[in-house]
């Protein structure tokens, strides 16, 4: 067999795909939960970036993974809260507010990287921590499966758990019900006394929470340093991933997985003698194609059932 195909059909490929999928999945859950409440959240880029940065800095200076986690999450949720405040209280357009916050996050992390690490590009001079990987008992000893699914970063497993949490949150809790109601018909929700603003705020905060782990994973798992704009458009790819999945839990998972696969493919193809610029385009072209196909199908379907 061709060595490239061989590497693609290997356990390694699955393992790598799950690694690559992790940050997209976290971000996509964040996007999806806000989308269900009727808002478009394009601030995941900034949310992840802030968490990635704060995690690295806190872990480097305190030596505590837990503190890094807590502060990373707080910073991300804080940024989401700011977005909510601009949008819901000051009535700013959510897209414009999110663009501003993304730029803010990008700028401030570069600035502070310079302050803390004396380098405008990365924090690699700091001794920051990473989240450990985890060998799953029994599974790790099963030949192929073990290689695929065991020994991944704990945050990757947590991402999968988050899909379940997302599911329960949306379908099994009053807050989830209210989020869906507000997204579908805010007037209806308000007419039965649901505080629409509050519900939208909660869903934004939740997107900050989920997005935070995406950021933490990038700088403290995927790699072991923070570098400027390291989210590299994952916050936007997450929007595509979530919308392919109809912003629903299982769909969001598979949407993210799809982009994980495509990205991993691009990484594997990089070994070929094809200009790397072309290969790097693959994930983005796929995004456009998939979204187009998805939109065509959706409009065909809606005519069928109307």
């Amino acid at each position: 067999m061709n060595p490239l195909l061989k590497s693609i059909f290997s356990a390694n490929f699955v393992f790598a795909t799950l690694r690559v999928t992790t940050p997209i999945l976290f971000a996509a859950i964040g996007v999806a939960i806000t989308a269900l409440s009727g808002s478009i959240n394009i601030a995941l880029e900034g949310i992840m970036l802030i968490a990635a940065f704060v995690g690295v800095i806190v872990s480097a200076f305190t030596g505590s993974l837990w503190l890094a986690l807590i502060f990373g999450v707080l910073a991300a949720v804080g940024l989401a809260a700011l977005l909510g405040y601009f949008h819901l209280n000051l009535k700013a357009d959510i897209i414009i507010a999110a663009i501003a916050l993304n730029m803010f996050a990008s700028g401030i992390t570069v600035f502070l990287t310079y302050i803390f690490a004396h380098d405008k590009g990365t924090t690699s001079s700091l001794k920051s921590l990473v989240f450990p990987s985890y060998q799953i008992p029994i599974l790790k000893d099963i030949p192929v499966l073990g290689k695929m699914f065991s020994g991944l970063n704990v945050l990757t497993y947590f991402a999968l758990i988050c899909v379940v949490i997302f599911y329960y949150l949306i379908y099994k809790t009053p807050l989830g019900l209210r989020i869906r109601a507000v997204g579908q018909n805010p007037d209806a929700a308000e007419s039965v006394g649901v505080d629409v603003k509050k519900v939208k705020m909660y869903s934004l905060l939740l997107s900050g929470f989920f997005g935070a782990f995406g950021g933490l994973y990038l700088s403290m798992g995927y790699v072991s340093w923070f570098s400027r704009d390291m989210t590299a458009g994952r916050g936007f790819i997450a929007i595509a991933a979530a919308s392919i999945g109809g912003n629903l839990p299982i769909g969001t998972f598979f949407g993210s997985l799809l982009f994980g696969v495509v990205n991993t493919l691009a990484i594997f193809l990089a070994t070929l003698k094809v200009p790397s610029e072309l290969i790097q385009m693959i994930p983005y072209i796929t995004t456009v194609l998939v979204l187009a196909i998805y939109a065509i199908q959706k409009s065909a379907k809606s005519r069928g059932e109307e």
Binding site: Y168, Y171, K172, T173, P174, G176, L177, R178, R180, A181, Q184, N185, D187, A188, A189, E190, S191, V192, G193, V194, D195, R303, G304, E305, E306
Partner: protein, 507 residues
């Protein structure tokens, strides 16, 4: 008697300058059913929105249970025991009936989880208690509008209200359902509740109201005991002039069939056969009325005829061409117009202006467009003309449809559909929400279209409307045509009833 609610000098000016309430004052006694009537755009819904905390008045006060109140949001009103069923439904389409019913007061399990069993139980209980049947586990968007209305009513009843506001609740109900609702309302009254009831059907007002307030152009014209007024007197108070109903003789010229349906079958997504070998013809110059209890396939039939739904098998021949499975645009191009049953869903784009809504089906044709650009000057004048011809109460053709009253939105839809010189008119509840004065107008226009040679396919939950307008009548029961009446002279609701309920069928 105790006054539960006292409305004093309410003035409401909308941001666009429309003065919807011009100093409205009247009292509502506890434990009564108080009807509020008035023409389209008189200001009824506006006043109710003020009571419910959705709109704020510029002047005036509301005294509720002896205290001056100032509701800032529906939440305030709900906390004070006020419930409202809105004229345009307020439901989340992707949620189930049970979820919609319990939204905001969800029963919980272990504090943080929804108690789904309990939710269904509550839904079942209220549905039984108030005699309004609803499929509690179905999604709202899959339900016909009449059922959605029942959900809406249950939603208010469930919240243990003291004062219940019903804004045209019967507009989309069948007469049978309305009767059920009235029984419920009378029961509620017995239990000490107070009800404000808005309707354009004066028969209903006479039937259940204790007192009536008539408003015209934002002012109270009269508040009287219902027993003091006849239907006719109420109507005259509403419009401020004498109303004479004119009957137009049936059209003498019946011509070629323009709409022919042959062996139409439709099986829905849940594999239930909804329409079973339905065949009929509507000829030029006649109105074919469909009688039937809502939910017997009418909605689906209309949607299939107009291209909004795909049939399973059969033929739909319009002007000689088989249009089965064609798109709405192709069908409209073939001379079909459609007044949909749900104006907010299929009739208008709320956030667009009146003139835009009036040309959505023809903007690409001359004279509305010149080359690739729209001729806005022409369109504006066109909008003005239709607004006048169809008696739409609006500040200008540039007003947003969302700023119109319910009945006036309906008129916009009717204006668009009847102004395109259609050869086939599919009219589903054409006068839904329209006041007595304008009802006459719409009926006259339908008859005129018929006399000019259109074929009209009329669906209505109002049997009187079907009887009055139709040249011929078919009865739809459980997806089948169970009776055909080619001669409607002397026919009454009693003759149709047994067929509609499925106890009798023609061979």
């Amino acid at each position: 008697m105790d006054t539960i609610l006292s409305i004093r000098n309410i003035v409401k000016v909308y941001p666009n300058g429309v003065v919807a309430n011009k100093g409205i004052s009247f009292d509502i006694e506890k434990n009564t059913i108080h009807a509020l009537v008035g023409e389209n755009g008189a200001g009824k819904t506006t006043l109710m929105k003020i009571l419910f905390g959705i709109e704020t008045p510029q002047e005036g006060e509301i005294i509720y249970k002896g205290k001056k109140v100032h509701f800032k949001s529906p939440l305030d009103a709900i906390k004070n025991g006020i419930g409202m069923v809105h004229q345009h439904l307020m439901l989340a389409p992707d949620l189930t009936v049970a979820e919609n019913l319990t939204l905001g007061i969800e029963p919980r399990k272990w504090k943080i989880f929804l108690d789904t069993d309990k939710m269904n139980e509550i839904a079942k209980r209220v549905s039984k208690e108030f005699g309004l049947e609803v499929p509690f586990d179905k999604r709202v968007k899959d339900l016909p509008i009449g059922v959605r209305q029942r959900v809406e009513i249950l939603k208010a009843l469930l919240r243990n209200v003291e004062l219940l506001i019903l804004d045209e609740p019967t507009a989309v109900l069948t007469p049978q359902e309305s009767d059920m609702l009235f029984k419920t309302l009378k029961d509620l009254k017995k239990h000490g509740k107070t009800i404000i009831f808005i309707s354009h059907k004066l028969k209903e007002v006479k039937q259940i109201a204790d007192r009536v307030t008539v408003i015209r152009d934002g002012k109270v014209i009269a508040t009287k005991d219902a027993s003091e007024l006849t239907e006719h007197q109420i109507a005259e108070l509403m419009v401020g002039r004498e109303i004479k109903s004119e009957r137009i003789a049936p059209s003498p010229k019946v011509g070629e069939p323009l709409l022919e349906v042959e062996n139409l079958d439709y099986i829905n997504e849940e594999n239930i056969p909804v329409l079973k070998s339905v065949s009929f013809k509507v000829r030029s110059g006649e109105i074919l009325g469909v009688a039937g209890v809502e939910g017997n396939g009418q909605t689906e039939l209309v949607e299939i005829l107009t291209g909004l739904r795909r049939l399973t098998s059969g033929k739909v021949i319009i002007n000689g061409k088989d249009m089965a499975g064609k798109t709405p645009r192709e069908i409209r191009e073939n001379g079909v117009s459609h007044i949909p049953e749900d104006r907010m869903k299929n009739g208008v784009a709320e956030a667009a202006t009146i003139k835009e809504n009036l040309i959505v089906d023809r903007y690409y044709k001359k004279p509305f467009s010149k080359g690739i650009l729209l001729d806005w000057k022409y369109i504006t004048n066109y909008g003005k003309k239709l607004i006048k011809d169809f008696n739409v109460l609006a500040t200008s053709p540039d007003a947003l449809v969302s700023s119109l009253s319910g009945g006036n939105i309906q008129k916009v839809v009717v204006a668009r559909e009847l102004s395109s010189n259609p050869s086939v008119i599919v009219a589903d509840q054409p006068i839904r929400g329209i006041d007595v004065g304008s009802e006459e107008l719409v009926h006259r226009l339908l008859k005129e279209a018929r006399d000019k040679g259109s074929a009209v396919f009329l669906v209505s939950a109002d049997l009187d409307e079907v009887l009055e307008l139709s040249t011929r009548i078919i009865v739809l029961y459980n997806g089948e045509i169970v009776a055909r009446f080619d001669d409607v002279g002397g026919l009454t609701g009693k003759d149709l009833g047994p067929y509609m309920l499925g106890v009798k069928r023609e061979e």
